[in-house]
Amino acid sequence: MQAASLFLGVFFLSASLLQCTKDGELVKNLDRSYTGGPDSTVYAAFYESNTVATADVVPDVNDVIKMRGVQTIIHEYCNTSNCHGGPIAPRFEIYSQIMQYVKPGDPEGSKLWEYITTNDFDNAMPPVNSNYELSTRDKSIVYNWIKNGAKERPDLNDFRPAAIRVLVDGCSSANCHNTATATGGWARKGLISGLASADTTQFTYINPTTGSVTVYCQLSNQTLRNQVWTAYKDSVKRFYADTVANASFRPWKTVSTPVSALSTRGPLNNYDDILMDILYPKSVRTVSSVVYTDPVTLKGYYVRGNPLVATDCFVRRMDSTLIYRNPLTLVETSVSGNMAYDDGGFKPSEVALFKAWYFADPNIPDVWKYGNANVGIFKYRKTGNYIIKR
């Protein structure tokens, strides 16, 4: 009896120890690791819903960023009624509870990250035999949220890279706001000496709905187009930095006129391009009539001297819930938002993300956010409330 019990005891103990380290043939193919790296352009916030700081009294449709958040992900995977939302401790309901397992800035050093990515069967969460596993998309949100500091509420460091990425890719696509198309248009119109249509590549676009055909050109040589665009941007910045000193200089070229009434869209290839478009809107860089004639060369310039006389601006084109008024004249313009709705296809949450970034970014001067002396230049259509600095 004793011998038999001893034998069975040793057998069960050995079996339990051995099975803990067993690697089954089928199991070896499992891989729960996250192959992506840090990506600041992933909007990764704790809460699924974040209202922008400049929201109207009752947040309007473009005032709330609603994107999948860490809390929702953890709730879905961990907080179910039969697990950590039920009889099993610990709880993962609120920020402070989840933060017990998070080391801000260090996903690899965080227990939460270890649980959801480890290939160790005995530590993996959700348990691997539950057939419940975080998707790659959800892992990227959790990873980048921890990497960016695991904050309870997002800030500029979260808004800016995500907003710029959406804007750059959304606006600078094939034949729209990119350097290749702008400089190609200039070359085609003979605005750049030494360059002609032959230096461009032509693309034909057929609208799948209407069948209308558009031909557009792009400057083929990337180095050249960067040179042309950089020279243009420098000329704009130089002029507006000191319009008196550069009164006879003026920006190097207008965007389109007077050669053609058709606009060549201004590039929005990166953060600097977007900032230039905000600070010196196209409606002052390119106008339809001669604003200034050089007394010596008699050359006409289609550019206004003060960027604040702009009749249009970035926010107006993005947000149809706001009415823009000129910072100098305080004259209201019509509501637009067409770049978000008609052309760009941006969703309300994305427009809210743009606003969250725009009003938090110190590189955008207050006059383009709240006007001179904080009188407000953006008014909510529904309530008439101006966005002012608080």
């Binding site: 803990c20 998309r137 696509s173 609208n207 799948p208 760009g344």
Partner: protein
């Protein structure tokens, strides 16, 4: 006494064995859930960075969704799986431009393509009643086949007569889920589209 100790030891050993058996059914775990087309890939191409494909007001590109009606054209997205595949491996967006998937998006799309079949494209739709070319096939053609780099652009347009004349080619494409028969390379078609077009052919391709 000795007997009790032995029995207790035996019971403890058995308990240890049983308690440590949470993952005893490891052989049941064949693979982790795959990349979801609907939950992971579709959100990428219907978001702002692909905004031109999702406007419907001022259409500038093949539509992946219609914001106004909140409709997603799964076929149109699936049909471009090959284009996405080349793009995440160093290719560029058709018509040039400066856009690209983010590293995270590339990661998801690569995994999705590498896993083979589209996965979770839906169980199909109920196809009932009489189908016609005008009411049922043209909308599919407009969203899935037409475009600057596709039919009506660099490839010849397809009209009713051609759909009828090339019925066998169409069936080859449909029966292979788009993998065979298409002269321009493999396509991906939703189960719904395959079922609908096959039913239309079975009904004699009414106009």
């Amino acid at each position: 006494m000795k007997k009790k100790i032995t029995l207790a030891a035996l019971a403890t050993s058995l308990m240890v064995y049983l308690l440590s058996s949470c993952y005893q059914n490891k052989e049941d775990i064949l693979e982790l859930p795959r990349v979801s087309f609907r939950n992971e890939v579709v959100p990428i191409v219907t978001a702002g960075p692909c905004g031109c494909h999702n406007t419907s007001v001022n259409v500038r590109a093949v539509l992946f969704s219609d914001q106004r009606t909140n409709t997603i054209f799964f076929d149109a997205i699936l049909a471009r799986r090959g284009a996405f595949g080349s793009w995440v491996n160093g290719g560029t967006h058709p018509g040039a431009g400066a856009i690209d998937f983010s590293p995270t998006e590339k990661n998801i799309i690569k995994k999705w393509i590498d896993q083979g079949e589209p996965y979770d494209d839906g169980a199909g739709c109920t196809v009932s009643g009489n189908l016609t070319y005008t009411a049922d096939i043209v909308p599919i053609y407009n969203t899935s086949c037409k475009g600057a780099t596709c039919h009506g652009g660099i490839a010849a347009p397809i009209d009713y007569a051609k759909f009828v004349a090339k019925k066998d080619v169409l069936l080859t494409i449909l029966n292979s889920g788009g993998n065979q028969g298409h002269p321009g390379g493999a396509l991906s078609l939703t189960t719904c589209t395959v079922n609908k077009m096959k039913a239309w052919i079975a009904q004699g391709q009414p106009q």
